[in-house]
Amino acid sequence: MTFDALAGVLLIPAVAAALLAALPDYRVTARLNVAAAALTFLCALSLFVRRPQSGAYLIVDDLNATFIVLTTFVGLSTSVFSLSYIGHELQIGRLTPPFVRFYHAMYQVLMFAMNLALIANNIGLMWVAIELATLTTVLMVGIYRTHEALEAAWKYFILGSVGIALALFGTILVYMAARPVVGEGLDAMVWTVLVRRAGAFDPALLDLAFVFLLLGYGTKVGLAPLHAWLPDAHAEGPTPISAVLSGLLLNVALYALLRFKMLLAANAGALAPGPLMVTLGLISLVFAAFMLYRRRDIKRLFAYSSIEHMGIITFAFGMGGPLANFAGLLHMTMHSLTKSAIFFAVGHVAQVKGTQRIADMGGLTETHPVLGWGLILGVVAIAGLPPLGIFMSEFLVVSSTFARAPLLAIVLVFGLLVGLAGLFLRLNSIAFGEPRGAVGKAQASYVPMFAHLSLVVAAGVYMPPALVAWFQNVAGLLG
């Protein structure tokens, strides 16, 4: 009996979800949660070793293997983080045991949904999976049952549903475009088939489809002006979910976009998806950069920074070409690691200070050196300063763009600078100056945070050739 990693990646979370829904005691469930995440991660790792045959529904290729491994890894570390985080929430009674049980079950469902979205070879299936992920996160965002949480969840829900609808329409259009060529039935939705035959599709239909997909999945990516749900969802949900949202869900949505971009790229007659993505990317970047200045809530602050970086990544993929694509992939990976690490730090900070208002926290490097410097390191990384990974990707994006389209590069640089200034404006008041707010001891697990950060640091200086070859190969695929 050969062990099928794909089945593992999907089944383990599903089963775990069912189990967790059943088990009452939070200590058990939390650890089980970690265990399940770890198993999933191992299965994902095995994809590097032995890659199962892709069928009509599931597929593993270079593109999504990277994503799966990344997703499962961040999922694992986040589950470790949520172990201590949820414990604290229980102590202070912000969450009650039934909710915690629900939370853990939903966590695994989310993992399942994202993995499914990543390895789906059928664009319909991919759509279903992403919507499932969205709905689960909606439920988790509202888990605190406060006014703000419910409002955030509701906003997320409504905007998300519209996104769902648009994406579906796009998917239907793609089917319509494919049917005359591929023929009726399932094949016309199988991605591998589509991309092989895309050359013969009706370009006008493809264009239309891409517009809808861009807006539909773009809502999930959080591109301005479709971003509205993102900051509140990050700010009001439990921090592990914010980490997963920023670190993973946005990526998954973007991954879907990439798939369709490749579809368009394969069709000569279709309009180049590049300009659209570049425009949306730049808008999101500059807009989010300016939004950083007026933030009073620490989690909302970093949510906007996620929008900014999604803008950069979309821009990079929009520019295309081996350099920019490589940079985009690298940036995506680095951003997931860094941003989730930042949210780990922020979660503990918020717990220590008992608030998310930036005005009520200060001098963190004095009161909680480890947390404070960890947060600083994270912000330095996210601001694209060396010697961390994001610096390399930004270096590649900016330099390669300036040689091709100077004006775009100028806008890009402007956005980056404004964003950096905004981030550090807030960081200064959080990490430095006279200590403000509660100074209690933090019972935190720093392992996930520093695991991520050390990976980011390492990547900034040295990248293993295997990974590089992988990325370059994928960058080639993306065209």
Binding site: L159, A228, S399
Partner: protein
Amino acid sequence: MTLTIGLFAAAALVALAGLAVAIGRAPAATRVVYAASLGIAAVSLAAAATHLLGAASPLSLTLPLGVPWLGAHFRLDALSAFFLVVIDLGALGASLFALGYGKHEKSPQRVLPFYPAFLAGMMLVVLADDAFTFLLSWESMSLMSWALVMSHHRVPENVRAGYVYLIMASFGTLALLLAFGLLAGPGGLYTFAAMRAAHPTALLGAVALILALVGAGSKAGIVPLHVWLPLAHPAAPSHVSALMSGVMTKVAVYAFVRIAFELAGAPDWWWSMLVLAAGGVTAVLGVLYALMQHDLKRLLAYHTVENIGIIFIGLGLALAFQTYGMQFAAALALTAALFHVLNHSLFKSLLFFGAGAVLTATGERDMEHLGGVIHGMPQTAFVFLVGCAAISALPPLNGFASEWLTFQAILLSPELPSWGLRLLVPAVGALLALSAALAAACFVKAYGVTFLGRPRTPAASRATETDRCSRAAMFALAALCLIAGILPGLFIDALVPVDMALLGARMPAQIGQQWVAIVPIAASRSSYDGLLVFLFMVISGTLAAFAIHRLASDRLRRAPAWDCGYPDPIPATQYTAMSFAQPIRRVFGTFVFRARETTTLPPPGDMRAARLSVQMQDVIWDFIYAPLAAGIDIAADRLNHLQFLTIRQFLSLVFGALVILLLVLALWS
């Protein structure tokens, strides 16, 4: 070999930083870290010096780091060797000084980890040989110095200083990034070797040069990109201020030289005018701003701006001569600039150390609260005086030697064919002379108000001599200032390989001139002999002293100051820094600072004190940066409303986006 040593030194410093994180709080940590950096700097200095003096051919090395398919390229040629020497000299001095000075640090764990990393960053910048490694080290250098600036973060203005600094630093880095992106081309040929080979088009090279001037200039402190410098440099601990002012700005100069003379291709005629104008304005404005300061360290920081201006004048001249193939004159100008780079790093470190010593002895940076420190700390006062004389370009010290060379270069410029340059160069020469004279004035003020006169506060009167290590560092630097002043020939000859590498021309060998004079062109034309002038002064001075003490009475009586018959017990009646600068402020202030003096005299018979108040505004800040900040603020405010829309309004955003995209689609064909 030497390159490897340099790289190992950098690596060792990084490791040391890691160690410092671990042991930062331990009492012995300070000594360990600074002693270790001292040793490492010494080794690397030896390596760099041997490479430079041995005029060895360039070494290069590639490590599998950085951008994967590119690797990290390192190269040690004459230019980088020279700057490595400058860096290591600075590092040596700073570490030695810090061995004593560091003991007074309140929270060493905020300084120790970043100090070695900062050094490593600077060393790697000059060793890097591809754009990525260069920028990586460059920005790490900025980042580490930022952390050091933030080490006393409880003082609000330090936090502000760090903020401004970080933004300006990233701005500069992005400018350089664009420059390199341009030079590398769409293919992404990021190695300097490829860029050297590329021969960019005129337009491309010009844009790259402007970007380089902006990028390197913002780090070096070219007006108007200097605003961060007088904020950040004083905020750091004094030995770090010395490094930032004396060395880091030189790394920026290195970046500019590397790009302008090597990578940007053949210079165009107006490049040099740009650089010259920037240099001249920077020199004069820097010193004028310095004159208006009464914070000792900030004053020194502004003088860094001035000296950077002088250096860029030299570089501009070199560019101008090179444009018209006057390689020899170019070599002279470049030598002058680089020699001034070395000199400035020497005396600026010395001066910052002195300021640090005073700061630890009195707890004061504000000159208005100092005075009479010379009585408490005579030795520090002596070396500080040497530093002042050197930076004021007084013979026979080193500052004069390099400025003299710059003047000689200026005097070669009438042979330039370009009219624009012919009109610009004399003006720049006048600016240079003006800045030199003003610098002297400024240091009379700085030294007189800080060290001389009567103590203005109890703190100042309680000042006692600083510790041994600090003094050792200061005396060593003072000695170097003197040596470089009386034997400039040695240093000029050491710079020959750099000239050869960059310009393919060289200055005549100076060693072997009679009485070790320096003769840039021909003995009949101009020559200067620091040693002889020094000996002359010593001899005639001692002669006079001898004669006087032989022939005249050497009776001496201590008495209260006469002061024209109005002796005044209150130290407050002495001239202060502000009042000392008042005449010069009258002359220049009105149009440079919009300075306005308002005097309020009470009517006769009214016993209230009259008061004089002076309003000055930093024109550059008010007209460039303030509007920028305001603009960003307004934009942020406007956009911030988007955070507070109703769901329906957000939906209409989505709807609008959809309709627009559909319209685009409809109008596409």
